[in-house]
């Protein structure tokens, strides 16, 4: 059978974002996949020379809207480390609360899109309906649904009062109950399992060698999570990374599913540890030196390299995002798949193209 090249993207119904894959197919089997990037490239790392280090927070938040809070958290941690600032405990716990709320809404968003990718629209709608509860929490506590903009250098700009804490806890109880009702559908439903089990298998060895990150890595049995570095409030919170041994699409979605439930627990733990009143420390001086910081985003490890030279403008901000790390493993698992499985497998890495290309 002759080879055919089928373009997948940049505008494709299952992809919310533009990425282009040239799929070389033989009959119905994919033999090669060549990604082309660059449709979302904005060059925002270079804005560091036009915006000072405080204004850069607004820029890095918009690297990716879905995990904006975690991007700015990583950036602020870097600047704080450079300037030797000790962030108050309440601020660290609040950062944990919002970053875990972000992880929950991101994972629910992804699980919905994933269900949509194999045509399970009812599940998509259910998951997004639950997700709106989390968006309400974000909006009511910070003023915006998606880009919450709570981090500042040296702390956070918003606080939670007693009423809000109680309301968050009550909402999470309901969210957890709603999610539990969907658990058996996501994990055991026969149609879901047939589209995901044994599809797009990435072995533990390959995941490690190709440098996979986040749920892609943990779905292949490597229990590695940047939250083990104990940033923000994770030094006091009990946390165990979640992993699944199978390495297929089912394992990746199960990891994300279990992490969503775990995040509810982490938010509760962080809310219980809110004490003190200080939200920020006083910032003196200008950032100078070099620093590398890492955090765990919903999609995996995110790394910031920041270089300052004692000026209010930073010399360099370099961002390495998880999806970038997950593209080589994706290119490795696509060959040999049926053409109809391609959307499912592409989505299973949770591609975030705006992160990747910035």
């Amino acid at each position: 059978m002759a080879r055919t090249v089928i373009p997948f993207g940049p505008q494709h119904p299952v992809l919310p974002e533009p990425i282009h894959l040239s799929l070389v197919v033989e009959d119905e089997k994919v033999v090669e996949a060549l990604p082309t990037l660059g449709y979302v490239h904005r060059g925002l790392e270079l804005l560091a020379c036009k915006r000072d280090y405080n204004q850069m927070i607004q820029i890095v938040e918009r690297v990716c809207g879905i995990c904006s809070m975690i991007h700015s958290l990583c950036y602020c941690q870097g600047i704080e480390e450079m300037m030797g600032l000790e962030v108050p405990r309440r601020a660290r716990m609040l950062r944990t609360v919002w970053s875990e709320l972000h992880r929950m809404h991101s994972h629910l968003l992804w699980l919905g899109l994933f269900a949509d990718s194999f045509g399970f629209e009812a599940l998509f709608m259910q998951l997004w309906k639950i997700r709106e509860r989390i968006m309400d929490l974000n909006e009511a506590t910070t003023g915006n649904r998606v880009i919450v903009s709570v981090n500042v250098v040296g702390g956070v700009r918003a606080d939670l009062d007693e009423g809000q804490i109680r309301w968050i806890k009550d909402t999470l109880v309901e969210v957890e109950a709603d999610l539990k009702k969907l658990q058996s559908t996501i994990m055991n439903d026969s149609t879901v399992c047939r589209r995901t089990k044994g599809i797009g298998v990435l072995t533990k060895q390959a995941a490690y060698e190709l440098g996979a990150a986040g749920p892609m890595l943990r779905g292949s049995g490597v229990a590695q999570d940047m939250r083990q570095l104990k940033y923000a409030g994770f030094d006091e919170i009990a946390f165990e990374p979640i992993s699944e041994p199978d390495g297929d699409c089912w394992a990746r979605s199960t990891v994300r599913w279990r992490e969503t439930l775990q995040s509810i627990d982490l938010v509760r733990q962080a809310l219980d540890r809110l004490d003190g009143t200080d939200l920020t420390v006083k910032v003196k001086g200008k950032p100078e030196g070099e620093v590398i910081t890492r955090v765990e985003q919903p999609r995996g490890e995110c790394l910031y390299y920041i270089k300052g030279n004692g000026d209010k403008f930073l010399e360099r901000v370099r961002i390495r995002t998880p999806t970038f790390a997950n593209i080589p493993p994706l290119a490795a698992i696509l060959p040999g798949l049926d053409f109809a499985d391609v959307p499912v497998v592409v989505l299973s890495i949770d591609p975030c193209i705006s992160c990747t290309e910035r």
Partner: protein
Amino acid sequence: MSFLKTSQIKSPWLMHFDCGSCNGCDIETLACLTPVYDVERFGIINVGNPRHADVLVVTGTVNPRNAEILKNIYSQMPDPKLVIAVGACGCSGGVFREAPNVLGGVDKVIPVDVYVPGCPAKPEAIMDAVVTGLGKLKGILEAS
């Protein structure tokens, strides 16, 4: 008005194209389709093919690479068509206005009918924009 024209206003088909946005506006556009906002109750459905679409919702800034794709998609849509630019990025380039690889808002490349401000624009605002745009579409159809 003919049957076809009436149904185009009563049940517009919408296509979303992400043109270099940060995803913030994308997920808000998608949220419009889900149960809490549910634009389908207005007869609006989301389609993946520009040849079926009456309304093009564009989020994000334009860069030299995706400008070509955007023009291509726009030219494939049948007339009369509406373009809605969502978010500060789509309107003017937003925070990325001065970034090296950004040309500016969507109107640098294709004509825009409705601008939705906000970073990100809220789902309510996006739905309002579609309804406002339909008023304009009605005017065009009645004149033709």
